[in-house]
Amino acid sequence: MTRRESDRVTTLHGAGGEPAGKLLAERILPRFKLRSAGPIGLDALDDGAVLELPPGQVVVSTDNHVVKPIFFPGGDIGRLAACGTINDLAVMGARPVAMTMGLILEEGFPLADLDRVLTSAAEVLAEVGVALVAGDTKVMGKGELDGIAINTTGIGVAARAISDAGLRVGDAILITGTIGDHGMALLAAREGFALQTQLESDVAPLWPLVAQALQVGGITAMKDPTRGGLAAALNEMARKARVGIEVREADIPLRPEVQAVSELLGIHPLEVACEGRAVIGAAPDRADAVLAALRGHHLGQDARIIGHAIPDYPGRVILDTGIGGRRFLEMPIGDPVPRIC
């Protein structure tokens, strides 16, 4: 009688021998349909991939992904990893072409969970037409890691890369959708909060949406509001471009559920992460056309112009609160924690 194979990750999976090969051949490779972007791709299992890139400026971005819980309403760490990298490239104005993926797994991690995570990542790459060209898997001992960590590196090509520092006075500031969905969905889903909400993460690959906006022209700066949320993204854009930014709180699209959870936990929705949104600066004469282009895509239905770059208060962000007051919107500090009472 053959011994039943474990349904969990073991140290053998990271040792480079037969179990590692099996993991790769049976669970990882077949999930990703596009596996090369040049003469040597993932199937070659060589020491590196060789890419053939279209003409333009090459943009590279890398990211480590750890998230708690790894499965959350609207997504999981696999989808997050793929989207995170694609979105970093997209907001540089680059079409994502290829990605690498490094997996670090904890001994005992359920293989079924790994399958789910890889399937999610593969779906995103297939949707946007990005090849997985290289990767690596390591296993750490039980207790040395919390389940799974993923590193991704993306390579994209831009006709002309767009930085997050390009705002000019007068530019309109656009947001492509509702704010805070990802961060609040995660907070609500974390053990202990026990909140029954319909909240889902906004995690999504932005390239198709951004590509549509780029066709209009006039985009001066872009950034995805991930950690630190919209507040951090706007502050960084203002500081780097040495302009002020004035935004109207009433125009910032916010789901009522996000608002409600935010009130309950005392965490401001503008300070929590989005994983499928972009902040876009557009020249004044193109702002309406960019907005129309964004709204023409299903990911941009809730897009809005939320404010403008101004000559006053360079490096600072001013928030017109809906109630008639004005205040600085500050750079968030640390991870948000729920209030006491």
């Binding site: 789901r255 809906g322 109630i323 008639g324 600085f328 919107l329 500050e330 640390g334 209030r339 009472c341």
Partner: protein, 363 residues
């Protein structure tokens, strides 16, 4: 989505209240003091100071439970964690420095410190780890104390105990009014504390010190309404307790919560960080529940209360004698990432709120 779903944030009504405030502003400058971090957050987050008439100043007193937790109590929690207990507390508390380190730093060095949302969560952890001592580091005012009382009275597991540093608001108001110099013309009393203790609980303070006390809710219009009522009392020379938050607060408060508090705790003198000892302003676990009292059980001592750092004006901020911007360290040496004084540590501390939301009166 806009338009704002919250009627209590209606800009037209806010403007109407701003006009009322301007009409009722007394001819002399007045200071209205609140003792609630959530009020400060509402005021700062919505830029309400811009709507106040000149000469009307609103300040935060000792309204942040994290800020007023003494270094001695923090040292005790850190020592308990370092000695092998699982210490459970609210998220903010893990960042507050004791004499040597914060709970978060103790955790980084191997101690087991967990963030919970309630005392009941800490009891759950105690049931999951019957072989280890689990200590709930209880902070907060009359709002969080009933939760602690409830778990104590339900007979929690033997490995569970509470390091109790709960504090009371009315004695703090009395202490503020009886510690010269006093520059307080009226109080905006905290809505959530008042849901528990009831409006009547402030009557003694209002009468003794002839100071108007208006209980306010936490939406922007709640705050503006309460401030207007306070100004009206000042103009008319009255000093009464007015409940401007009747949708949540009654005259007698929550009897059930009060009963829990009375059965589990007795008042005691308490040290408020940056202020000192205020008589009968704290809660101590009663003798018959002593087996769940971490202080009696572990006999862990804190270091002597720390001297305040040079230049830090937190004591003045906590006593409502200064605003954060008056402090030379604010935003320079003292920031939320490297706080010098207690008001910058807790997320509801005046300095922290001003830093985070920009509490400047006018832009």
């Amino acid at each position: 989505m806009s338009p704002d779903p919250f009627r209590l944030r209606d800009p037209l009504r806010a403007r109407a209240f701003a006009d009322l405030l301007a009409r009722h502003a007394p001819p002399r400058p007045v200071r209205i003091v609140h003792v609630c971090g959530t009020h400060e957050i509402t005021i700062a987050q919505h830029g309400l100071r811009e709507l106040l008439p000149d000469g009307v100043e609103v300040l935060e007193g000792p309204g942040c439970p994290v800020c007023v937790t003494s270094t001695r109590d923090l040292d005790r929690a850190v020592k308990l964690a370092e000695s092998g207990a699982i210490v459970c507390t609210f998220g903010d508390m893990t960042r507050v420095p004791g004499t040597r380190r914060t709970l978060a730093e103790a955790r980084a060095e191997g101690a087991d410190v967990r963030v919970v949302l309630s005392a009941a969560d800490a009891v759950t952890i105690a049931r999951e780890h019957p072989d280890r001592p689990v200590v709930f580091f209880a902070v907060g005012f009359e709002t969080t104390a009933p939760g602690t009382a409830a778990v104590l009275l339900e007979g929690p597991p033997a490995n569970f105990s509470v390091l109790c540093t709960h504090k009371l608001i009315p004695p703090a108001l009395s202490a503020l009014m009886s510690t010269p110099p006093v520059h307080i013309d009226a109080f905006l009393a905290p809505g959530h504390v008042s849901t528990v203790i009831g409006a009547r609980a402030y009557a003694g303070v209002a009468e003794r010190f002839h100071v108007p006390i208006v209980i306010g809710g936490f939406e922007p219009l709640d705050v503006l309404y309460a401030l207007w009522l306070a100004l009206r009392e000042l103009r008319e020379g009255r000093a009464e307790v007015v409940n401007a938050y009747p949708r949540a607060v009654t005259a007698d408060g929550n009897r059930r919560a009060q009963e829990l508090l009375a059965r589990a705790f007795e008042p005691c003198d308490a040290v408020w960080r940056g202020i000192g000892t205020m008589p009968a302003s704290g809660l101590r676990i009663r003798e018959d529940l002593a087996r769940w009292d971490a202080e009696r059980r572990f006999a862990i001592e804190g270091e002597p209360e720390e001297e305040r750092p040079p230049g830090c004006r937190c004591p003045d901020v906590l006593m409502a004698r200064a605003v954060p911007a008056d402090c030379p360290l604010f935003r320079t040496a003292c920031t939320p990432l490297s706080p010098v004084g207690p008001c910058m540590v807790g997320a509801e501390g005046a300095c922290h709120v001003w830093y985070r939301y920009g509490g400047r009166p006018k832009l």
